[in-house]
């Protein structure tokens, strides 16, 4: 058959909604499809902001007068706070909205809420929602309304993407390992429900990491994940061998229900990162975790607090990375 794709789809869906026609970022919705150059540009920008931490005055006036709305339809303290700090350091005005289910329970739809906030002359929305694709729905809605002056940052949507976490993970890896093209990176745990894992895989493969491994029981690995460019391991001892970077994922308690896992104890025994298992990795391997950590469930305290762990530096880098994303989206940097 000469036609491989129906005509309507090639037109309708080919436009990447986070890119402007000139290829620059309009929104940050996912790391998928971003070029290596773009990723490094964001990381380089973050690096320039990181030095601010050492100054007495940690603020720059890049986004003075801009309004940023943190719209969190799902609970989060850590991510929301880092966005708030990032916005403050750029001198933007930040408004925190914990919407959860409250507005929708009053009968207001998601897009009604967005319309209301857009009417308050927002310049940027930072959005978290428990449904995959929600930031896309909002981006398309704003595009339809010709409100192209509003930028969206996806702060985590369902199981789809958490691009700023992915970027701060890349920042961390680059900081400690310098070169992506010689690395073995293992992502361990609940890949199925993890938007972080998906964003990390996209970024790692784009940045040239030759071997991305994912490790977990089959119940926690989504089907077809190998097609994202990852090698699948069920045995952690095999998967950890000689890796340079270990990214542990948080295991939600509710995974014990619904027959995904039998118990936390068994999970820790086979997939928890202990000093013994860590010894299988390269001697200078770093241990990362998006937080908050469950000690004794996915990671042993000796490892979480050990010298190979870079979990707390990740948090610091996260602020710089979010500053970089905000600055780039608003056109504040080249």
């Amino acid at each position: 058959m000469s036609q491989t794709k129906a005509p309507w789809t090639s037109l309708r869906n080919s436009r990447n909604p986070q890119l402007k026609p000139d290829g620059k970022l309009q929104h940050l919705l996912t790391l998928e499809g971003l070029s290596r150059k773009t990723l490094h540009h964001i990381l380089d920008t973050a690096e320039s902001f990181l030095s601010l931490n050492n100054h007495d005055v940690k603020k720059v006036p890049l986004l003075r007068g801009k309004s940023i709305f943190n719209i969190f339809f799902e609970n989060s303290t850590r991510t929301r706070t880092t966005f708030e700090i990032a916005a403050n350091r750029l001198s933007a005005d930040i408004v925190n909205l914990n919407i959860e289910a409250s507005s929708t329970s009053k009968g207001e739809t998601l897009l009604d809420t967005v319309d209301n906030l857009a009417a308050m002359h927002a310049d940027m929305f930072v959005i978290r929602h428990n449904q995959s694709g929600t930031p896309y729905l909002i981006a398309e809605h704003l595009n339809r309304l010709r409100k192209d002056d509003i930028h969206i940052i996806n702060a985590g949507d369902g199981q789809h993407a958490h691009p700023t976490q992915g970027l701060l993970d890349m920042y961390t890896i680059r900081h400690y390992k310098k070169d992506f093209t010689q690395l073995r990176v293992a992502i361990i745990g609940d890949i199925m429900h993890s938007r972080v894992a998906r964003s990390d895989i996209h970024a790692l493969t784009t940045l040239g990491v030759p071997e991305v491994r994912i490790i977990g029981p089959q119940t926690l690995l989504p089907s077809g994940i190998a097609q994202m460019g990852a090698h699948v391991y069920h045995n952690m001892n095999e998967g950890l061998k000689d890796v340079d970077v270990i990214i542990m994922l948080r295991l939600q308690r509710e995974r014990m229900y619904g027959a995904l896992l039998p118990s936390e104890a068994e999970y820790f025994k086979y997939y928890g990162l202990t000093p013994n298992k860590l010894a299988l990795a390269a001697p200078d391997a770093i241990v990362m975790h998006p937080g908050p950590i469950n000690r004794g469930v996915e990671i042993a305290s000796e490892v979480a607090d050990g010298h190979q762990a870079v979990i707390l530096p990740q948090v610091s880098f996260g602020i710089a990375v979010r500053m970089a994303v905000m600055a780039i989206l608003s056109g504040g940097t080249a």
């Binding site: 309507w8 909604p17 739809t109 694709g133 729905l137 369902g158 993407a161 989504p222 089907s223």
Partner: protein, 428 residues
């Protein structure tokens, strides 16, 4: 008395389209002559159908007359009008309306109301179980007396296999056909077929086994009933593996027929692009290998019928994150166009693509086989298969939940004839 003459039309048969053109004479709702005028025929209307194809009108085995989501408004008039503008003369209505079609009065109300509109004929499918809850049997025999042509569960599976077994046995006692989706109640949740694309988007997905496990269960029940099994029409299969199972079951002479949603012959999971809720169907869109196998199964007769599975979704119910949006698309009015597209892409005669919505659909509905001969009912559609039309919002109307909005589809219906009368004529 209306006497209609259609001149110079190329006739669409069950397996081929005539190269030469014919004249068709119609009186009292029947075809009374082909290329030869019957005695005393004085045409009250003559239609020049030069360069057009004339087919028996389509039958769509799944069209809903009510809005889904929102206020569940009754859309009978709109949908039945849409049907005839697309050359569809018969529609089967699934029982999952509000209220659910499980009471004789509701069936009578539906048939009387829609009959009075004098548009496409409505064939109600009654609920197999009360309230579609899968617990108590509905009054199947009484419902059949009141006009139900078959019984089913729409998209709601029966969880309890014993209830399913008894429902099949009870229906068989009265020789009533059962129309069932094949979907395991526990595995059958998701807005996209399981696979790499679903995993990439992080969306709840439905595995192929949700369908095949239900098929195996059904086939084993039918096997165990032997000659006492009812005839079962399996609705909306979506995978290559299901097509293969049905092919085998038919070889084993199980009393089954089967249909597929037209959208599954054209679209696949990746067409959802960046979370486009217009591509959410139940069953969900799957991979290109599934689409290829479904197309092949339609062509070799494993899949008997192609349906539009028309459902008008209110605007707000699609303006939600994909995982929460209402599934389904409108399409009864473009079933013919999408079948012509299928013919063009598969490089087959239009007749072969239309048969699953004409003769093969009539057979499942229990209607006489439409044949070009004197005495056949004059439910006809005249169309130009070389024309195109764009599905603009204005053209589509209020419920524009379709993946094809603003795109061009081949073919254009110029006239639909129901019972020998022109029910729809395209304005020129």
């Amino acid at each position: 008395m209306s006497q209609l003459l259609i001149q110079n039309a190329r006739l669409v048969h069950a397996s081929h389209t005539d190269i030469t053109s014919s004249d068709i004479y119609i009186q009292d709702g029947l075809i009374t002559g082909i290329n030869q005028a019957p005695n005393n025929f004085y045409a009250t209307q003559t239609i020049d159908a030069k360069n057009q194809l004339l087919s028996f009108a389509l039958a769509d085995l799944s069209t809903r007359l009510q809005e889904k989501g929102g206020n569940h408004r009754d859309l009978s008039q709109t949908v039945l009008t849409a049907a005839i503008t697309g050359g569809v003369a018969h529609i089967a209505v699934p029982p999952d309306s509000r209220p659910i079609l499980d009471e004789p009065n509701l069936i009578r109300l539906l048939t009387n109301k829609t009959h009075a509109l004098n548009l496409a004929k409505v064939h109600p499918i009654g609920a197999l179980t009360q309230g579609l809850k899968g617990e108590q049997l509905a009054e199947l025999a009484t419902l059949a007396e009141n006009g139900c042509i078959a019984f089913g569960q729409a998209d709601i599976p029966i969880k309890n296999t014993q209830v399913l077994q008894r429902a099949l046995a009870y229906a068989a006692s009265f020789n009533l056909p059962v129309w069932l989706r094949a979907q395991d109640a526990n595995l059958g949740n998701g807005v996209i077929g399981s696979g790499a694309y679903a995993s990439r988007l992080g969306l709840p997905s439905m595995s192929v086994s949700a369908e095949t496990i239900a098929l195996h269960t059904l086939f084993e029940l039918l096997h165990s009933m032997g000659k006492d099994a009812p005839s079962v029409h399996i609705c909306r299969i979506s995978s290559a593996r299901s097509a293969e199972l049905i092919r085998t079951a038919k070889k084993e002479k199980l009393p089954i027929t089967c249909d597929v949603n037209i959208h599954h012959l054209h679209l696949i999971d990746t067409d959802m692009g960046y979370f486009n809720s217009q591509f959410v169907f139940n069953p969900p869109l799957r991979q290109s290998t599934d689409r290829a196998a479904l197309r092949a199964a339609v062509l070799d007769g494993t899949i008997d019928v192609v349906v539009s599975d028309h459902v008008a979704v209110d605007f707000d119910s699609k303006q939600l994150p994909v995982g929460q949006s209402q599934s389904g698309a409108v399409g009864v009015q473009w079933l013919l166009n999408l079948l012509v597209l299928f013919a063009q892409e598969s490089r087959i005669d239009v007749a072969l693509a239309l048969a699953p919505a004409v003769s093969r659909a009539y057979a499942v509905l229990g209607l006489p086989t439409p044949i070009w001969q004197k005495g056949s009912l004059a439910h006809l559609v005249l169309f130009d298969d070389t024309a195109h039309q764009t599905l603009s919002k204005k053209y589509v109307g209020e419920h524009h939940n379709t993946p094809y909005l603003d795109y061009e589809l081949p073919a254009q219906v110029s006239m639909t004839i129901i019972n020998g009368r022109v029910s729809y004529q395209k304005l020129t």
